[in-house]
Amino acid sequence: MKRIIPAIAVTALAALALSACSGSNGATSSLSPAPGDDEKVTITVWSGFADKELAVVDEALAGFHKLHPNITIKSEGSQDDDKIAQAVRGGTAPDVAISSNANALGQYCKTGAFQDLGGYIKRDDVNLSNIPQAVRDYTEYKGVRCSMPLLADDYGLYYNKALFEKAGITAPPKTMSELQADAEKLTELNPDGSIKVAGFVPTIGFYNNRLDVWAPQFGAQWQNGKGESSLATSKGWTDLFTWQKKMTDFYGQDKLTAFTSAAGQKYSADNAFQTGQIAMMFDGEFRTGFVDEQAPNISYATAPLPVADGRESSYGGSDVGGNIIGIPKGAKHVGAAWELIKYLSTDTKPLVQLANGLKNVPTTLDALKSPDLKFTGTLAPFLDIFSNKNSSSLPTTSNGAAFLKTATDFAVKWQTGGVSDLKAGLKDVDTQITNDAALQQ
C-alpha cells in the first residue's frame, strides 16, 4: 500500500503535467479529428436567425451536409447570446454557436466560453490573411482566436434622392461640414416650428447613430497603443462631440426629442427614413433589404459616410462588425463542429450564398471578388467600404460592450446639455471604463 500511494501520486502528477501541455494555443495533440466518412454524427447549430433568415442559413448548412453526408445538422434559430451563455454554464451547449453580438467576443475568449480555434487553424493551415484585418481584429481577443467571422456589417450614408433633388443637392456630402450644410437645406419645419423633415438627425442612440459607427469617421480612438481607454486624449472624440452639439443646436434638443420620440421603430416599415421624414441617415448595408421590402417606392441611394473636416483622405471607410461563429465550451462533437465552421467561414460558396440571402457583407477577400455576389445598386458601395483600408472595428474587451454603455451615457448627457466641461467629462469616462475593466482582473 505504501508503494501504491507514491505511484498513484507520480502518475497523477505526470497526467497533470501532460494535460497542462495540451490545449494551449496552437497545440495540435489534443485537437479533435474530423469524423471519419463512416462515422455518423449529428451536430447542433444555434443561431439568432429566424423565419426567412434562418431558411437562408439552413440552405448553407444543407450544402455542408451534401459534402459530408455522415454529418447531420440540427439547426435551431432564435437562440440569442443569453441562451448561448446559459447553455455553456449549464453544460448543455450546442456544438456550434453563431452570435450576432461580436462585442461579447472578448468575454467568450477570456472565459473559455468559446473554445480556442488556434490549434485547428494551424493544423488545417487556414489562411487568415484572406480575411480583412478589421474583421480579424473583432474576432479574436488578445491573440486568442475563439471565433471565426461569418458575414459582416459596415455602414454608409443613406440619402433620399427625391429630397436631394428638391433641395438642389447634386451629390452626397463627403465631410461633416457638407453634411451639416445639406442637412440644414433639407430640413423642413411644420407651421408650429416642429420638425417635419429632418435633414439629418444627430441624436446619439437614435436608430444606428451609435458611437461605434460615428467614431471612425472622426478618427476617434477607443484605446491608445497600450490598450488604455483614450477618449480624453484622442482628439477625434472632441471633434465628434463638438460637431454633434453644433448639429443638435441647429434643430434644438427639445424639437429633436419630440421628432425622434414620434418616429417609427428602427426596423419597422414606418422607420422615418423609409417614410421620407429623414433625408439622410447613417445605417448598415442590411437596411437595403428593409427598404426594398418595406418601402420599395422610396427613391434613395447610398454612399460612404462623411468624415470630419481635415480627414478627407480617410473617406471611404467605416466601422465594421458582424456575426461570429465558434465552438462553445462543452460541445460534444468538436471535430465535426470545426469542419462546419471552416466550411462556412472560409469557403466562398456558402459565404456568397449567405451574403446574397441575408444582405450582409461576406468576410473573405475571395468571396468579395466572387462573380456570384449580388451586391449591385444601393448595396454596391458597401463592398468598397468594407475593403477600404480605413475601415476599422471596435476593440474586444473582457467585459464586452460595457465601455460602449459608459461612453454612450456620456454622449446622452452631453447632447442634453448635462456636461459643461467636455475634456473633464471625457477624462471621467476613461476612468470609469478603466475601473469597470479592473473589476474582472
Partner: protein, 337 residues
C-alpha cells in the same frame, strides 16, 4: 445505586434491581422520543429540503460569491472586499439604479395600496353589476408585462399616442412621457397602478369581511362615514393592508420587465430589448437595481459583483421590512396585536 434509581426500580414491579434495570425504561422513553423526533423530521423534510435548496444554499452561495471574481464559467477567485469597494466608490450607475428603484418602491407602494383600497371601497358600494366592475378592475393584472409595456409606450407616444392626441383636443401640449427622463418613471408607475388588480381583490375581500354590525352600532352612536372608516374599517383590514404594503414593496424592488421593454421600445430599438445601449433609456432614468444586477451578472460576466449587489439589496430590504413590521405592530396593525 442512587435513591432515584431505587425509587424507579421499586415503582416497576417485575424488573430486577440494579443499574441496567433502572436505565431500561429511560432507554425506552429515549427511543420513543428519538422515534418521535425522526417522525417530526420526516414530516418536516419537504420544507427542510426546500428551504435548504432554494433559500439557505443560494443565500450562503451568494454571500460567498460576493467576495469573489466569478464569471459563471470558471472557478471563482477570492478577491476580498473588492466588489463592495467598487460598488460603494466606483460604480456611479449603481447609485442611479438605487435612486430609480427607491422612487419606484415608494410610488408603486403608495399608489397600489391607495388605488387598490379606493377601488375596493367603491366596489363594496356597488349593488348591481359589481361582478362586471370587479372583473374590469382586475383584468389588467392578467396582462403579460411585455404586452402591457408595449401598449403603454404606444398610448403615451408623444407624437402619435392617443393620450397626447386627447390632450391636444383641449389645447394642451402633451409631454414626452417615456422619452423624458423626468417623466419616464412616473409613467412606469401609472403602468404598475393599472396592473394592480390583485391588490384590489385582496383588499376587497378583507373589506367585505368587516362585520356590518360594527358599522351599524357606530352609526347609531352618531359616527360619520370618515370616522367609521378610520376607527372600524382600517383597524379591521390592517393585517391585509400590511400584506398589501409588503407585497407592493417587493413588486417595486423587483421591477424589471416593464422597465426594460418600455426603455427599448421608447428608444426606437424594439428589436434589441435588453441591449446595453438602450438599457435605462432615457438617460438611465428607467435603469432599476435588478436590471443593473442582471446586466452585471449575465451580460458583463461579473457574477461576483452581481452577488455583492444582491447581498446589499437583501440587507437593505430586510432592514426596511423589519422596521416597517415593527412600526405597524407598535400601532396595532397586525394580527398578533
Amino acid at each position: 445505586m442512587s435513591v432515584q434509581n431505587l425509587s424507579t426500580a421499586a415503582s416497576l414491579p417485575g424488573t430486577p434491581p440494579g443499574g441496567s434495570a433502572a436505565r431500561a425504561p429511560r432507554r425506552g422513553a429515549g427511543r420513543a422520543a428519538r422515534r418521535n423526533r425522526w417522525t417530526v423530521l420526516a414530516f418536516m423534510s419537504p420544507w427542510i429540503v426546500g428551504f435548504g435548496v432554494f433559500i439557505a444554499y443560494p443565500l450562503l452561495a451568494t454571500v460567498f460569491y460576493s467576495f469573489t471574481s466569478y464569471d459563471l464559467i470558471n472557478d471563482p477567485v477570492f478577491v476580498g472586499l473588492r466588489n463592495y469597494v467598487f460598488m460603494f466608490t466606483q460604480d456611479p450607475l449603481v447609485w442611479v439604479a438605487i435612486r430609480n428603484t427607491a422612487f419606484l418602491v415608494v410610488a408603486i407602494t403608495v399608489g397600489r395600496v391607495v388605488y387598490g383600497l379606493l377601488a375596493a371601497l367603491v366596489l363594496t358600494k356597488i349593488k348591481r353589476g359589481s361582478g362586471v366592475f370587479r372583473t374590469l378592475f382586475y383584468l389588467p393584472a392578467l396582462a403579460p408585462p411585455v404586452a402591457a409595456a408595449l401598449a403603454f409606450v404606444f398610448l403615451f407616444n408623444p407624437g402619435t399616442g392617443p393620450v397626447n392626441q386627447f390632450l391636444a383636443l383641449f389645447g394642451v401640449k402633451g409631454p414626452l412621457w417615456f422619452n423624458d427622463p423626468a417623466l419616464a418613471k412616473p409613467t412606469l408607475t401609472i403602468l404598475a397602478l393599472w396592473a394592480s388588480g390583485e391588490i384590489m381583490v385582496v383588499l376587497l375581500a378583507s373589506l367585505l369581511d368587516v362585520p356590518a354590525e360594527y358599522h351599524e352600532a357606530a352609526a347609531l352612536d352618531g359616527a360619520g362615514a370618515m370616522r367609521r372608516f378610520w376607527h372600524i374599517t382600517l383597524p379591521s383590514i390592517s393585517p391585509v393592508l400590511l400584506f398589501a404594503v409588503i407585497n407592493s414593496i417587493i413588486v417595486g424592488l423587483q421591477y424589471f420587465t416593464e422597465a426594460v421593454v418600455a426603455g427599448a421600445v421608447a428608444s426606437g430599438s424594439s428589436d434589441a430589448v435588453g441591449n446595453i445601449a438602450s438599457l435605462g433609456y432615457p438617460d438611465n432614468s428607467t435603469l432599476t437595481f435588478p436590471m443593473w444586477l442582471y446586466e452585471q451578472g449575465f451580460h458583463s460576466f461579473n457574477m461576483g459583483y452581481a452577488s455583492t449587489m444582491a447581498i446589499v439589496l437583501f440587507v437593505v430590504s430586510a432592514v426596511f421590512t423589519i422596521i416597517l413590521v415593527r412600526q405597524l405592530r407598535a400601532t396595532g396593525a397586525t394580527e398578533e396585536e
